[in-house]
Symmetry: C2
């Protein structure tokens, strides 16, 4: 087994960008382009808590990177760099690290960013992986959670609840589901598609934005709280995939679960009515469905309503890790 | 026990600086001052590996922050912000977190930086804490490991080996040692003093720099390797504290151990002969001893020599975690 320096040199140094100084220095350098500001986010995952011990290491790496890219995109930022911390038990050998690094390599090419630095330590416990992503945005153009205004429409990208269904499928639910639907749903859980093309394009259009990790209802709740607003969402307007709609045929209560599930990594944003046409045009240009699902209002909290406008009670306000 | 959001709101949000958006957003904002570039570093520690489970949580927090500040200082950067990842087992309750956050609060005031963001997750294993520190330096003025040149003098700040002795004291060695010496040495292990005033002042003076975490000999080896150089160090010139000198009286072989121990968090740098006067003046101004201990040479590797110029064999090239 390679030591710490050997692993860094063999598996991670090839991923390093110019500011990373070959991963041989105490720290890394980040140039700031004039007129732009940096956006920084960090997410950590623990083996057995956020992923399963036998999950493919390349997928674990990609998901870790992608959830951070989703956070950057939710601020309207483009990705530039990342730092990686690995705390690994001795039982995870060089092969695991090689496959993990290969997954990072694939995705950093796909999304156009590079490794800047990190730390690797030993742990007697489960593996813990933490990734800090840095991006940038034109100064003052970042889209915060806190900017929603009364009368704004609430939009989401893509379809909602697929990852929640994918986790259920992986746990053995829906044994009669068609193979294509199973594959689609489990892929949505295992490998989110961060909306990196969409986020930066919403600068000047969206008043407030976040990504959906805790669930649509919970994350909209966070956005409303940060904005000092409330929101009403029409459950019938929440966009569902064909696979989710097929499962809904035998379970009409399913949409509430999909709206409160998590791990969607879609973008959720509030934009003035006047931006609706531009947003619809953007959806066409990017080939990514964008759906208006509700309205920002004075007040507090998120009301979920059915087609008749009656409030639907929500058992869970989303996931709280811990 | 508070949940994840409750702990963030109660203990960590009060530590957040303006770019941290109250720790309520997906990401944080970092402004870049014109003509300056950012410097980023990250270090992770694991309970039972890098600190003891019953170590005071405020000291654990301070050491974690300070080792990162040492890395920034080693590039000539001043500290600005930090991000924090905590992976905590359920047995560590709110009191532990409160004391940990209090330690961070003390030190962020002391060193003039603020919390920018982070992530907190649960783990069934030992606690894992990771801190990413961001600082800045005038563009192009960073001091890399790789710039040492033949004929440069090798300098170190402070005294060497105290932390290594402090760990031995904590493990029960040197039972006859005077209380004042015990306190001094264990404090040097538990709470390093990152040389934040020195690092930025060495821009324009030092050709290459790093901090000493793996041990003087090992870290000088890294600096030499990055620079494509070798070095000779005179063991008699390595500065020792009064406490270390008292222990040396009954153990003449001790200095080799001190030069290969770790956790000093002193700065180690290479500077041209012409800078020696300015460096000596800086030592006086800062009230921090700076000692010339050797010379950079063509070649590779670090030679440790005694007062007669004979090479001393070094058993260990420093610590390798993993």
């Amino acid at each position: 087994m390679l030591g710490e320096f050997g692993r860094i040199a063999k598996f991670f140094a090839p991923l390093a960008g110019p500011g990373g100084l070959g991963l041989k220095d105490d720290a890394a350098l980040v140039e700031c382009a004039p007129g732009r500001q940096l956006v920084v986010t960090v997410d950590a995952i623990v083996e057995g808590v956020h992923y399963l011990p036998d999950d493919p290491p390349d997928l674990v790496a990609k998901k870790l990177l992608r959830v951070n890219l989703s956070d950057l995109s939710a601020k309207g930022a483009r990705p530039l760099h990342y730092l990686l911390v690995t705390a690994l038990p001795a039982r995870l050998g060089d092969d695991w690290v090689a496959r993990f690094a290969a997954g990072l390599g694939d995705d950093q090419r796909r999304y156009g960013l590079a490794l800047l630095g990190g730390d690797s330590v030993a742990t007697p416990g489960p593996a813990m992986l933490s990734l800090t992503a840095l991006g940038d945005v034109a100064s003052g153009a970042e889209i915060r959670r806190s900017g929603a205004k009364p009368g704004d429409r609430v939009w989401v990208s893509g379809t909602i609840g697929d990852a929640w269904l994918g986790l259920k499928v992986l746990r053995g639910d829906y044994p009669a589901l068609a193979a294509a639907d199973r594959d689609f749903l489990t892929a949505r859980f295992r490998l989110p598609e961060p909306r990196v093309a969409l986020g930066p394009r919403l600068a000047g259009l969206a008043h407030a934005m976040c990504d959906i990790s805790d669930g649509l209802v919970a994350d909209l709740g966070h956005l409303c709280e940060a904005s000092g607003m409330g929101a009403t969402v029409s459950l019938a307007a929440v966009p569902l995939s064909a696979a989710a709609r097929r499962l809904m045929a035998s379970d009409p209560a399913l949409p509430v679960n999909l709206a409160t599930g998590g791990d969607d990594y879609e973008l959720l944003f509030a934009a003035p009515q006047a931006a609706s046409e531009a947003i619809a045009a953007l959806a066409g240009e990017l080939g990514l469905p964008l759906a208006a699902i509700g309205t920002i209002e004075e007040g507090a909290g998120v009301r979920l309503v059915d087609a008749a406008g009656s409030q639907i009670s929500v058992a869970s306000g989303g996931w709280t890790h811990f």
